[in-house]
Structures are given as C-alpha cells and as structure tokens.
C-alpha cells in the first residue's frame, strides 16, 4: 500500500523492518531525518535496538564495526564531512570484511561550505572496498536498503546505499513500504561468523606483513567482484517478493534502440527521462542507470553500450585536475568493445545546483550539435560569474 512519506522517514521505517540490533549515528544534514526517525521508533518501543548517539562520525562507524564483530546486525548513516571523518574506519571495516549497512545521504564537501546535494562524498571513498549502490528514486532507496543487508551478510562486505541528499531524502511522495513478513522472510537472523566470542577466541585486525598483505587485498578485490552475482540475485529475489526491481547492477532504460547513451548515478535520471518524454523533437537517448558503482560492472556495462555511437557520462562529482571520476572508468571498460562509443564526460548539479529539464538538451547539444565539446566539462557552470582568469 502506498503511503505519503518523506524519503528519510520511509528509510527509517525500512531500516527498522530490517531489525538492526545496533544503530550508531552522528547528526549531519541531510542524513538527520533518517536517524531521528530511527530514534523515535526505538523510543516508541517499535524497534528493539541499541541506538548509540555518538560524538563523531569516526565513532559512528567504529561503534557499528564493534557491534558487527560482536555478532549484531549494525547500521549507520552519514553524509559529506561525516563520510570523510569516518574514512579511515570505512577502509578498516571493509578490509576486515565486516558486514554492515550505511546510508550515505549524498552531499557536497567543504570547502567552501555547502550542505546541498552532489556525490563528491561517496566518490571520495570509492576505493574503501565497500559495495556502493546508487538509488535513482526513494522507492529504490527503500528496496535497495533491504537488499543491502542481504548482500552485506552473504558477501561479508559492507554496503553503502547512496541516496541523493534533499532531492530524495527530503522529498515527500507516495511510497510502498514492505511488510514485516516480507522483510523477515528475505533477511533471516544473522550472526557474523568471524565474530568475537570468548568460546572461540580469534584475533581480528592483526599486523599483516608484506608476505601476506597482497593476498589480503586480492581476496578482498575478488570478493567484491563476486558480489556482482549477489547484487543481481538479491534484486531478483526481492522483486519476487514485492514485485519491483531496482535494476541489479545497472539498468537500461529510455530508448533502447537509440545511438546516443547517457549514463547516470542517482536521482538525476528521472529529470532526464522527463525531459526526453516531454519533447518529442529532441534526439532520443538510451539511459544507463549505473546502480552498482562498486563493484564496477564492466561486463554488464559493455553489453548495455552495444550499438551506441556516443555515450555521455554525467556525474555529480569531479576529480579536480583530472576531470570526471566515473567517466574514465567507463571509458576503460568500453575499450574492450569491438566498436566502443565515443565517451563524453560531464559533471552537473554540484553543491545542489538545480538540475532542470533543460539539462537534457544542453547535454545532447554538447555532443551532437554544431558546437560539440571535447573532454571533461562542468556543463552547467556559469562562467560569467567568474573573473576572466578562471573562465
């Protein structure tokens, strides 16, 4: 049954349905409504869970880590500066192969201070060894969160569910929440089998010297690559429960026969789809919704790009001094195709700049029009606001 819910409220209720035993969080905009919602559910006795309101994100990640190794299902949520503050712990969680789930309410990074949406935060910890799943809608955020616990626990890897701040977290819309029975059937009680137990004492996080370290990294990399199967399967099996799917590793939408492709992560997809649907005079595009950024589904991506002449990779982040972050990875993956499309790489919507329906036309014009652009660009930059030297 569809309920009118704010994205964050829906996420809080979904997380409660997943029965985490320990939730640790530190408040940061735009993640706050999620953890406030969980705190209220705990206070009302609707969720039997230790809610640990910590003194920093560094400790939020650490408490979740401690809880998971002590055998509990653990959850945390953060954004922006919080993701960076917990960065060293995020690497450690993944390196120790500890399963837990985190929501990243995507937000820009300082400086200068900006509290609005882009994806620079989760991109900054791209190499932490977490699974990263990006959500295009709030419904996907709900369904992906349930799947994330299954994926984390089966793969013994942490999962970051990336949900665009404000655009999704603060938007009220009709949403379907699963029932407790549906979630319980999908997520059986779990206990981390490498956990700490006096009956079977283990040492975790030991000093690993050069003669073993490469093997640790290799095993971790392989585990992430293998997780692709679990991500597909979790989506497939959850679809059998609720009748909705999220696209597995990635999803091809729009005009499947188009020669122009646009690859996106997160919520901008809906804007582009509306823009194309609203104006039949515009060139048609095949949309590739990249849901799993880590593991990076190179093979699925090549399949999705078959028949394309041109592919636009649109990002909500950048690597200053180089260009895009996702773009070069896509390009590398497509090199193995017989006839790879030409890849154009743009960033847009940084620090919450509004992405309007005009974005579609400006993207198409930038790659098909007379004034074709080459190389990376922030497509919605207003250079008239800049001094001459910075244009």
């Amino acid at each position: 049954m569809a309920l009118a819910l704010e994205g964050s409220q829906a996420l809080a209720r979904t997380i409660a349905l997943c029965r985490p035993q320990v939730v640790a969080a530190y408040p940061i905009t735009p993640q706050t409504h999620i953890v406030e919602g969980i705190a209220k559910l705990v206070a009302d006795g609707k969720l039997d869970c230790e809610m640990v309101s910590v003194e920093s994100e560094h400790s939020a990640a650490s408490v979740a880590l401690g809880a998971a190794v002590a055998g509990s299902r653990a959850y945390t949520a953060s954004a922006s500066q919080g993701i960076l503050l917990m960065a060293e712990v995020l690497f450690d969680i993944a390196g120790l192969r500890v399963p837990l789930v985190m929501t990243c309410a995507n937000r820009a990074l300082s400086g200068p201070l900006n509290i609005w949406n882009d994806q620079q935060d989760s991109m900054a910890v791209r190499d932490a060894g977490w699974i990263q799943l990006y959500c295009a809608t709030n419904q996907e955020a709900i369904d992906t969160t349930v799947q994330a616990f299954r994926i984390a626990e089966r793969c013994e890897l942490p999962v970051m569910v990336c949900v665009d701040g404000f655009t999704l977290t603060h938007t009220l819309e009709p949403l379907d929440l699963p029932s407790a029975e549906q979630v319980d059937g999908f997520l059986p009680a779990y206990r981390f089998h490498h956990g700490l137990d006096p009956a079977d004492p283990r040492s975790l996080g030991t000093l690993v010297a050069p003669e073993h370290f490469s093997e640790v990294r290799h095993a971790h990399h392989q585990a992430l690559m293998r997780a692709q199967t679990e991500i597909e399967q979790a989506d497939h099996e959850w679809a059998a429960v609720v009748g909705r799917h999220c696209g597995g590793l990635l999803e091809v939408r729009g005009d499947a026969g188009a020669r122009l492709g646009i690859l996106t992560l997160g919520s901008v997809l809906g804007t582009l789809e509306d823009a194309m649907d609203n104006d039949p005079s515009l060139p048609r595009a095949r949309f590739i919704k990249l849901r799993s950024y880590r593991p990076f589904p190179a093979q699925a991506l090549r399949k999705a790009c078959e028949g394309l002449d041109t592919l636009i990779v649109l990002e909500r982040a950048l690597s200053p001094g180089a260009g895009g972050i996702v773009g070069p990875e896509v390009q590398t993956a497509l090199i193995e195709m017989e006839a790879p499309p030409r890849v154009h790489n743009f960033a847009a919507g940084l620090g919450g700049r509004d992405l309007t329906l005009d974005l579609y036309k400006s993207l198409v014009d930038a790659v098909l029009g007379e004034k074709r652009r080459h190389g990376f660009a922030i497509i919605d930059v207003d250079t008239t606001l800049l001094p001459e030297a910075d244009r």
Binding site: V54, E55, S62, L65, A70, G71, A209
Partner: protein, 330 residues
C-alpha cells in the same frame, strides 16, 4: 601429590592456577612494562571478555600474522577509535543479553591524544566498558615521540634537549582529573610495580556497572632509556617519589590512595632513565628543572595527602607553571 620436580618454564606455567589471556612468545622487548601490565590485566579479568585494542606496541608485538599471543577474542581497528569499537561491542552484547565484559586497551597516545574524543564519548554514554590505558608516556611504537602524557622536561625524539630546549616544553596531561569530570563509577591509577593492587583494581572495575578507567604506569626500557631488568624498580620509584600517584575514584570523588610514608627525591627516579639525563648536567637550567619536577611531585603528594593528614606541607611552588622564553627555557 605430584612430587615430580618442575624442570621447565612451560611446566612451571602449566602449574599456575591463573587464566592466561596473553600468552608468552609475543615479541615485546625485554622488560616491557606494557606486556607485563597486559598479562596482569587479562589474568585478573578472566576468560569471559572481549578486547578492543588500539594501534600501538601491544597490538604489533602480540599479533604478527599468522601468529597471535591472545587466548581471548580480540580486535584491533585503528588508532583513535578503540573506545568506540568497545562501545559498539558493549551495545551489541547488551542487546543480545550477554554478560561478557568488554575491555578497551590503548597506550597513552590512544588515550590522552588521538583516542581521547572517543573515550570521552564512551564514558559520557555510560557504556559498561573497562578502558585500560597502558601509560608509557610517549609514542613508543613509532620510535619514542612525545605525547600528551610525556612528563615535562623528558627527552623524546620530538622533544629533544638542545642549546635552547630542556626536553618537553609542556606538562603531562592530568588525564585522571579529566576522566573524573565524567563522574564515571570507577577510575583509578595503578603501576606494574604493584601487581596485586593492579589486579584488585581490574576486578573492582569489572564488578562496576558502567564505564570504568584504569591508567597503568608501564615503563618502556627502550623509550625511557633504562635497563630492562630495572622496569619494576623504575615503576616503583615513580610511585614512591609522588610523580605517579596511585589513587582510586568513584563518581569523580577520591576514595583511596597508596600512601607514601617517606617520599623519595625525584632525582632517585629520574637518574635511572636516559630520557632525563640532561637534567643532571652541571648547569643552572638543569638544577632549576629538577626543582620544578620536585615541585610537581610535592604537589601530587599534597593534593592526594599521600603522606597522611596533618603533616607539614611540602613546598609546591612552581608546580603549575611551565615557563617559555625569556631566561627560562623549558
């Protein structure tokens, strides 16, 4: 009765009735105060515990993969988060209805400095965690750099004495007063020179519900520059001079001390250690600094009434001041 003579160290150990949480065969230096302290703590704590260990010597010398000296469930995450990892384990065990005690182990860097915020948060939230600080007064694992716990005037690799310096320019942080300000149920200091007192405090802390804190003075022969055979002697002198007072607190109130009837001069303690060697040069500055350290010890003695009540007060002038610049140096 088994009359067979004890022939080996292993046989001797096997006869010991105590639980051994930390096995021999780890890679600590000879005379390591921290290794001794950790063994004493785990003996007293028994087998039903889980340990979170901050980065540092203790982590490194006990767990060179694929070996481990621990017979207890143990995790090392990163340097500054040990109190938070322990808090997470405690929250999990509590939610699961298990009574296993959570211990957090850190050196002075992981307690006074990089781990301090997480420690403060853990205590404020009242997690049932016993936090043990193995205080060896510098960053020993990285090669003896000064920490917030390094005593005033001590030489470390980042507080070297020289033409215009007399070692560390700042005072040792009074961590126990900060801990006391959290009004946790139990906080205490201990020393490896007083093992039965140390064990009793571990048991008492474990019997306490809520956060507890134990700071154990643990000499580091390598970092302090004394022979490994002198660890206990050095630790004992730190207590007997008043430089490391042994005290106990409940909810921030002093409830007990280890009295010093006849305090020894601080020079007895300092002269055994290379890190204070520059204080024994025949120089005005060195003499003044010795006076300063004696004043710090005297102040500890008076503050905690370590000689008992009603005796004539010591001179503590200058104990609170750290002079910089001018004709003062340190």
């Amino acid at each position: 009765m088994n009359e067979q003579p004890l022939q080996s160290l292993d046989a001797l150990r096997a006869r010991q009735p105590r639980f051994r949480g930390l096995e021999s065969g780890h890679r600590a230096c000879q005379g390591c105060g921290e290794a001794l302290a950790a063994r004493l703590v785990t003996e007293a704590a028994g087998p039903d515990v889980v340990i979170a260990n901050a980065t540092g010597c203790l982590e490194v010398f006990t767990t060179p993969w694929p070996q481990s000296a621990w017979r207890l469930p143990w995790i090392h995450s990163v340097f500054g988060n040990v109190a938070a990892v322990a808090a997470g384990m405690e929250a999990a065990l509590k939610q699961q209805g298990r009574a296993t005690q959570v211990l957090a182990f850190a050196g002075d860097g992981g307690t006074f400095d990089i781990g301090f915020q997480a420690l403060s948060g853990m205590m404020e939230r009242g997690h049932d965690v016993l936090f043990i600080c193995f205080d060896n007064e510098a960053y020993m694992n990285t090669g003896v750099q000064r920490s917030g716990s390094t005593p005033h005037a001590a030489m470390t690799t980042t507080s070297p004495p020289g033409a215009v310096r007399m070692g560390k320019r700042h005072m040792k942080k009074d961590i126990l007063s900060i801990i006391a300000a959290h009004h946790i149920p139990y906080a205490a200091t201990a020393s490896v020179a007083y093992p039965s007192d140390l064990r009793n405090k571990v048991r008492r802390a474990m019997d306490t519900e809520g956060a507890s804190f134990l700071q154990i003075h643990s000499p580091c022969p390598l970092g302090w520059g004394h022979d490994g055979s002198l660890t206990i002697e050095v630790a004992r002198l730190a207590v007997q001079t008043g430089l490391f007072p042994i005290i106990e607190m409940e909810r921030g109130e002093l409830i007990g001390t280890l009295p010093i009837r006849d305090p020894k001069p601080v020079s007895d303690y300092l002269k055994l250690q290379n890190r204070f060697r520059h204080l024994f040069a025949d120089a005005y500055r060195a003499r003044k600094e010795l006076e300063h350290l004696q004043a710090i010890a005297n102040r500890n003695i008076e503050r905690f009434e370590l000689r008992g009540v009603g005796v004539e007060k010591y001179d503590t002038e200058g104990a609170d001041t750290v002079h910089r610049g001018g004709d003062r140096w340190a």
